[in-house]
Amino acid sequence: MGDHEQSMTSTVWEATRRYLRSVAVPLGAVLLALIIGAAIIWISGASPWLAYKALAKGAFGSAEGWRRTLEKTTPLIFSGLAVAFAFKAGLFNIGAQGQLLLGAITAAWVGFAVHGLPWAIHAPLALVAGLIAGGLYGYIPGALKTYTGAHEVITTIMLNYIAMGLTDYLANGPWKDTSEGNIVARTPEILPSAHLPTWGWLPLGFLLALAVAVFAWWVLERTTIGFEIRTVGRNPHAARYGGMKVARTIILTMVISAMFAGMGGAVETQGVIGRYQPGFNANLGFDGITVALLGKTDPFGVIPAALLLGAMRAGSSQMQFDAHVAKEITDVIQALMLFFVAADMIVRWLLRVKAAEGEEKITLSTGWGSH
């Protein structure tokens, strides 16, 4: 009896230790980034304490703040999942931005152009349209990589610029809001039947994001496709010898990853902005990279990472107002977080943490050719 109890506590203790060790690096990275961020704020002549206090107040100080935080967190979960999911197959999807834009504008089009549907059909229809648009756009770099060997890092970035041009054209041209008095590039407002509601401080989009995170985890950990994706990511040669269709897996991974991003765009349109307007979704795709790495490319790690960045985004206006620190400091802090989480050796050395056993290491830079 006593023995059993002891082994129970030691197992729990072991598990806790393992967990703490696995989150030590991201937490250390966040802490270091905040310290250096404070130094930069101090150098530019403001009070770091006041700034961070205002930031926290803006993000969590009221129901309104919580709503803003969750609204900012939602698209970051989607783009973070997009990047993290592709990482598992050894793919670096920097194109989440473009996929998200196409998802956002397609959902907007379904939202304003399709009339006469009840909410229960219209809202999901717009979501699915955005998801498909994103997925199709992700097919391009996936196919280019498998059939021509063009590295997805460059093709997805180029496709970001092309998506920007395309959505800009649509919002200025055929899908432009022609209502009286409008002179800016934007689509008409979506119909109420396509809106995703917010209950008090809780946006429906946030719940969708959580559900998609669970879905991503399930695909990766509990399905054959997920197993193939992870094997291709660890060792494409072994995957090929094992009889897996590496080309098909790479394309499929890019499409699923891009679907997450496209759905993020759709949720942003239907839940927050209410239409498509160029510039309103800027940088969400790039932030997804930071979110994915901070979350250790784990679908459930993405959620707290996105919450952290979302809170920084939501609280930055308050910070600018109270402490007179430019909003863009959050970009600097975010870049520092990315640096420290990537340079985990520095954090480990500072915190004296050894690498956890069996931790996955992903290699992205195996030259420019295909696998």
Binding site: L144, T148, I329, F339
Partner: protein
Amino acid sequence: MSTPASYANPKLFWKRWGGLIVTTVLILAAIAYYYAREPHVTEAVLASTLRQSVPLVLGALCGLIGERSAVINIGIEGQMLLAAFIAFMVNVWTGNLLVAVLAGVFIGAVLGLLLAFMSVTLKIDQIIGGTVINILAIGLTGYFYQVGLSAKGKLNPIPLGPLAKIPLIGPVLFDNPPITYAAIILVFVVHYVLFYTPWGLRTRAVGEHPRAADTLGINVYLVRYVNVTIGGALAGLAGAYLSLEAVGSFDRLMTNGRGFVALAVMIFGKWTPLGSFGAALLFGFATALQTQLQFGGKINIPPQFIGMLPYLLTIIVLAGFVGKARPPAADGIPYEKEG
């Protein structure tokens, strides 16, 4: 690898350079044709082609000397952006253009050193290391940039005496601002260093077979550190070009993907300085044409589609040439010393 020695075999020569030569001949024919019809427009487009190619060729040189020693630099964009910003700010503070250019080059080198530290010493995945630099540059320039700053001057064209008076060739080649001249010279300097000096030989050895190079007593880490740092300086010069020579001011995100296009230029140029120069001219031409189409108003295409041209070209080039061009064998792989 494509050492000059392999040119001895004509079949190999055509296989390697045939496409580029045919393209060049076609372009020259087109230039002659259009010059006969519209000399002023042709002159303007060609001059713009060369100038648009400057940041691309400098970026490509940065990428290729890194990759020749097996370090992939995806952070060229960020190096250019931060250098453009610092060069502009130094110009605002001091009003001295030379100091401003040097500051840009210096900052580029510092970021190069950071990338070398991350990829050689810390052995971070090189793609992630470069991405860190990109995001850091966007964050820092966004935070410290204040709207409304203006600099006193920019780098102006220096006509090279009588050479500048030759029709067509003169205004295009011999009436340029200093960084444009510097870029052309640097193409040949890097070519010479890479293929005709001991350092170049060491660089290529480290890029192809670091273990063997190490056995022969070459300091693999040192070669990579130096190359990536110098590469950063070249990207910094490209940044200084953007803010001091091309525009004369700084804009948020003004690099506009040029650092990534430069990597496609490098691949299209098959990791050689001369090839990269040719490829950069092609991309420069696409951009110059885009400007001409946008303001010429002759063809009724939405400007957004014309603006996509360089990016589409990048994808086409990557899709068409990556499989055929061979990168250095150890490209992207961190080196671990034995024992």
